[in-house]
């Protein structure tokens, strides 16, 4: 069935596949660097869409899980590099250990924060998720041992099953695979029984409760899943930049994540990825073009919010959904 949505999805997939060739043809690795970043932010955007788009849970603190994932990887590598065990553990540089660890840490934080935040709703939920993220931000600023405000550098990228992933193409494929996995997983989840409850609760919470669904628990589970995906993205980001800092958790970044999701299109699996790409390209172009980039980017964000709440993907999808 080749409607506009499927065609556009196909084009996005082809674009990701074509990136390395484009880089060779253009003779610059920067295309790969940029596309890798798109893939990483794409994961965050997809995970945030699960909450905001499908669950109607506007989390304004998603950067916290992204940052925690990054810090988990950096701290594990820091302890290994400096030969100081942490709680008797020597640390690790192996991605297959460090990345799941990053997801676990982010998921655990999401569990605690979600358990408290999901007791509230609406604007209170927006604010309390923001406040918790700020709390973690200040915590990392104060953590002098791990660099505090200066952040923490990784001496090398993680090893992936013992192999080096410093080559930008190798790393690109890893990030794109992670993105593909997250998109596929989200797609399955959202159509599963679990996803039906999550979406049903967004449509009518009262109804779902009256049917016997303990909505809180399902939302909490979604919150944890989204947190874990963001944690994975943070781990990848830390590897790409070989650096983490509290800035990863800042509220401005949480805001940017929301912008990506909406710019791309809420409640569409591929839309948030397109949103991440658009956001990065526009921001990187504008801030290179003028030091007063905020004066152009701000109104642009505003126009998207006011006039295109369905985002780019909404425009692509057009009349498909009737």
């Amino acid at each position: 069935m080749l409607n506009r949505t499927n065609l556009a999805t196909l084009l996005v997939v082809l674009a990701f596949l074509a990136v390395p060739m484009a880089a060779t043809w253009l003779g610059t690795n920067y295309v790969i660097t940029l596309a890798t970043r798109v893939a990483i932010y794409g994961i965050v955007a997809v995970s945030l869409d699960m909450l905001v788009g499908r669950g109607n849970l506007v989390s304004f603190g998603h950067a916290a899980y992204f940052g925690l994932g990054g810090y988990a990887v950096a701290i594990a590598s820091f302890h290994l590099a400096n030969d100081v065990p942490i709680f008797g553990w020597s640390g690790t540089n192996e991605a297959l250990i460090a990345w799941p660890l990053a997801m676990a840490v982010a998921g655990l934080a999401a569990l605690v924060i979600g358990a408290l935040s999901l007791r509230t709703a609406g604007v209170y939920f927006i604010m309390i998720t923001l406040a918790f993220a700020q709390m973690l931000f200040f915590l990392f600023v104060a953590l002098k041992y791990y660099g505090g405000d200066d952040g923490l550098s990784l001496s090398t990228r993680n090893l992936f099953a013992g192999n080096r992933i410093t080559d930008s193409r190798t790393f690109y494929w890893i990030c794109v695979s992670a993105l593909a996995l997250c998109v596929l997983l989200s797609w399955r989840i959202l159509n599963s029984r679990f996803g039906m409850v999550l979406r049903g609760a967004a449509a009518s919470e009262r109804r779902m409760a009256a049917l016997g669904f303990p909505v809180y628990r399902y939302r909490l589970a979604a919150f944890v899943i989204a947190g874990m995906m963001a944690g994975l993205a943070g781990a990848l980001w830390a590897n790409q930049n070989r650096f983490v800092s509290p800035d990863m958790l800042s509220w401005v970044r949480s805001g940017e994540f929301l912008v990506m999701v909406i710019m791309g299109g809420l409640s569409s699996l591929v839309g948030p990825v397109v949103g991440a790409a658009a956001f990065l390209l526009i921001e990187s172009y504008l801030s290179g073009a003028t030091e007063h980039w905020q004066m152009i980017f701000g109104p642009f964000v505003l126009l998207v919010a006011v006039f295109a709440p369905r985002g780019l993907w909404g425009a692509v999808r057009g009349k498909d959904r009737q």
């Binding site: 905001v52 506007v58 304004f60 408290l116 007791r119 509230t120 709703a121 609406g122 604007v123 209170y124 927006i126 604010m127 309390i128 923001l130 406040a131 918790f132 700020q134 709390m135 200040f138 915590l139 600023v141 104060a142 953590l143 002098k144 509220w251 401005v252 805001g255 929301l258 912008v259 909406i262 809420l266 007063h292 980039w293 905020q294 004066m295 152009i296 980017f297 701000g298 109104p299 642009f300 964000v301 505003l302 126009l303 998207v304 919010a305 006011v306 709440p309």
Partner: protein, 304 residues
């Protein structure tokens, strides 16, 4: 004891400044259901307009009306051009649009006023200090700020409980039809309320001018604290904003003053200093989390 009293005064002064910001934000949310992240930008605009006027005229007493007018005008324009399109929209669109506004205003100020921090001269009449209690000197300007905060609180109370505008405000957004049935132009009322909120933010902006530096990004620093205040107080409630401002202002100041000292009594020096400062900077978020766990809709929840 004297130190404690001084810290208490500091806490109250911070509380009353926060209240000026929180009152406007909570009014706008309570009546129009709009969450306005750019409220901090209005505070910044008030401060910059005040600093500009002060630099041109050399007196604080002209900076004050300039800051108020600029904030109120920008606020009214913001409502008229943008915010009014967001009333019927979900919080997400509002967050996004006003996030865009923050970026714009920061860029605009950098472009038009430059990046140097500015300052407003303290009015000479208030430059000294007052002996509040024997031996306890307190800056006259901060006392004046507290007086303004109290006056605004009383004024708002009077307006809301005694005037026609206040009655309309109390009627709230969910009774829009009723208000319209009374022959009130609701669009005008909303613009008015938004401008009033902006005016209060501008007032706070000009008033902190002589104390803090006027700089880009000053709005965001204070915005999040203001959100904490209104969430703790109960969004939409002026009374809640006042209570929340008191709680947060006092917790923040006393936390910064005493948490490091308390920690020092059972931890070694440098560790206690660092940890104390870290703890002091997150204390308001801890308070907020605690309040919301016990009362998910804040201390003074607004019904409906």
């Amino acid at each position: 004891m004297q130190l404690f009293l001084e810290q208490l005064l500091n806490g109250l002064q911070l509380s009353l400044t926060l209240f000026l910001l929180a009152a406007g934000l909570t009014l706008v949310f309570g009546i129009m259901g709009v969450i306005n992240l750019a409220h901090g930008s209005l505070y910044m605009i008030g401060a910059y307009a005040g600093a500009y006027a002060a630099a041109k005229t050399g007196t604080f007493w002209l900076a004050l009306p300039a800051g108020l007018a600029a904030a109120a005008l920008v606020g009214a324009a913001m409502e008229f051009i943008i915010v009014r399109r967001l009333y019927a929209r979900d919080h997400l669109s509002q967050v996004l649009a006003t996030f865009g506004l923050i970026l714009f205003f920061n860029g605009f100020i950098a472009w038009s006023a430059g990046r140097s921090p500015l300052l407003i001269e303290t009015p000479p009449q208030l430059a000294g200090f007052v002996e509040v209690l024997p031996g306890l000197r307190y800056p006259a300007y901060r006392l004046a700020m507290m007086a303004v905060g109290v006056a605004v609180a009383l004024g708002l109370w009077w307006m809301i409980s005694r005037t026609r505008v206040g009655m309309l405000i109390r009627a709230g957004s969910d009774k829009r039809e009723m208000v319209e049935a009374l022959g009130v132009d609701i669009a005008k009322l909303f613009t008015l309320v938004f401008a009033l909120g902006a005016l209060l933010a501008g007032l706070a902006g000009v008033m902190v001018g002589p104390i803090r530096s006027v700089q880009i990004g000053m709005g965001e620093q204070v915005l999040i604290t203001t959100f904490v205040v209104i969430v703790v107080g109960g969004i939409g409630s002026i009374r809640g904003a006042f209570a929340g401002a008191l709680l947060i202002g006092l917790c923040d100041t006393l936390g910064r003053a005493y948490v490091p000292m308390l920690l020092k009594s059972w931890l070694s020096g440098p560790l206690a200093d660092g940890l104390g400062a870290a703890l002091a900077s997150v204390i308001i978020y801890l308070v907020m989390a605690l309040v919301l766990v016990i009362r998910p809709r804040g201390l003074f929840p607004v019904s409906g």
